[in-house]
């Protein structure tokens, strides 16, 4: 291992950490603005031009809150749970190629932290570990609402994990690789070769499961305000509570990248236009998360489980079998 490689890796990681922490902060601003416009309000307007400095104000507020550890909680687990959520969300970034390769000062930069050959398996695995944040936080909180939220969160996550895995198997059979770079190269020929045209069912299934995996609104049972207060976050305050949100928004961005690269062609053949196209697709998926929150109510837990086990999973298995039959003939 040469020194240049080590330095390059560390620089890439620091850039990703900074950019996506800032984007997660701005994600809350976008969400408030989008929801406000859809409800004919203005949203945050007072801090800075158009309320753009709202996230700075929020950050100051989160940092200067009194550091409270309630009585009766399991201290060490209570304190480490938000760190697990935020850190595992960012660890998923390792196997995602964010941009096409480019040359900087005569040195070719690959914008991917670790070009591992089991990329998708790694991303699914790390997102599954992300469950430990809400689970441990809820179980350590000594609060009934947190405990219900933790149990629900675990049930939803592991159920939709099955759908996520099964829906990605069909594209994998076509490409024959687990690396997101190979997925991108497979679709480099242009819009006609995108996997969404040959695997529309898998795309819809993965999209639905993405809402459950990130805990967004139609499946936001993990912190359903009118039933279980703030769920696993009820006893948290200050920056520990903020870390849960950084993790959630970073997860939304990374799963948008994964969807755009696997099903919508990624950055194509790697021109500057392709790079902007990828960012546009990611922006659309992120906007769709917010749009759904404005347009849809939450489902009930039993409806969520019914949808996963009795509808989505049989469809996903059928999709694999049909893909296999079509590919063999």
């Amino acid at each position: 291992m040469d020194t240049a490689f080590i330095i390059e890796t560390i620089i890439k990681i620091v850039v990703i950490l900074l950019v996506f922490s800032a984007l997660a902060g701005f994600g809350t601003y976008f969400e408030r603005k989008v929801l406000a416009f859809m409800q004919r309000r203005l949203g945050p307007m007072h801090v800075g031009p158009y309320g753009l400095l709202q996230i700075a104000a929020d950050g100051v507020k989160l940092f200067t809150k009194e550091d409270i550890v309630p009585a009766g909680v399991v201290g060490p687990i209570f304190k480490i749970a938000p760190v697990i959520t935020a850190a595992t969300a960012f660890m998923a970034a390792a196997a995602i190629p964010f941009l096409p390769e480019f040359t900087l000062f005569g040195y070719t930069v690959h914008p991917i932290v670790a070009d591992i050959n089991v990329g998708i398996l790694y991303i699914l695995g790390v997102m599954a570990i992300g469950l430990y944040g809400p689970l441990l936080g809820g179980m350590a909180s000594n609060n009934k609402y947190s405990l219900i939220s933790a149990a629900r969160g675990a049930a939803v996550f592991i159920s939709y994990e099955v759908v996520t895995g099964l829906s990605l198997l069909a594209p994998m059979m076509m490409v024959g690789s687990l690396s997101l770079i190979d997925f991108n190269n497979y679709q480099a020929g242009g819009i006609g070769e995108w996997i969404i045209w040959s695997q529309p069912v898998a795309f819809i299934l993965f999209w639905i499961a993405a809402f459950a995996e990130t805990g967004r609104t139609p499946f936001h049972l993990i912190a359903n305000d009118h039933e279980i207060i703030d769920g696993f976050g009820t006893e948290y305050s200050g920056m520990r509570w903020g870390l849960f949100f950084i993790g959630e928004y970073a997860n939304m961005f990374f799963i948008s990248f994964v969807m755009a690269i696997i099903f919508l062609g990624g950055f194509g053949d790697g021109t500057v236009l392709g790079a902007f196209a990828l960012l546009g697709k990611v922006a659309f998926f992120f906007f769709f998360f917010l749009w759904t929150r404005a347009a849809w109510p939450d489902v009930r837990p039993d409806q969520l489980m019914w949808l996963c086990w009795k509808v989505l999973m049989p469809i996903a298995v059928l999709n694999i079998v049909i893909t296999g039959i079509v590919m063999m003939f």
């Binding site: 932290v113 790694y122 609060n143 009820t234 079998v321």
Partner: protein, 129 residues
């Protein structure tokens, strides 16, 4: 985009693991230091009690509905299946008809288990009955 040809592709994952956990843990420590210096403090004891679970804090056992354990068992059954299918899907073209027939048999066996779980009511949400 070309693949990177490096000797240790997992090195980046390790560094990312160390740096993210370090950075976010440092964030909580920094928040604690800042709030100790700046935050308004209130030493009233009742403030530390947990939300809407009674003013006197007692240690509560973590008991949840057995429904959730059923879903955990189902998850074990079906996710192990998916782990088994990942290498098959990657080598699908290589394995040809033999691999496809084997996997159809495997899916058939799993479907029997799935129908059994459905008929037994393991997929229902019990508390709404």
């Amino acid at each position: 985009m070309e693949h990177m040809h490096v000797a240790n592709p997992y090195f980046g994952v390790f560094i990312l693991f160390v740096l993210t956990f370090g950075a976010f843990y440092a964030t909580t420590i920094a928040a604690r230091l800042v709030s100790r210096a700046l935050a308004a403090k209130d030493t009233e004891k009742i403030k530390l009690s947990i939300y809407e679970c009674g003013p006197e804090v007692t240690k509560q056992p973590n008991r949840i509905s057995p429904q959730f354990y059923l879903f955990a068992l189902l998850f074990l059954l079906f996710d192990v299946e998916i782990v088994f299918m990942f290498p098959w899907a990657v080598d699908f073209k290589l394995l040809g008809w033999f691999g496809f027939a084997e996997m159809l048999l495997f899916i058939l066996l799993l479907t029997i288990g799935f129908i059994y779980a459905w008929k037994k009511g393991a997929l229902e949400w019990h508390s709404i009955k």
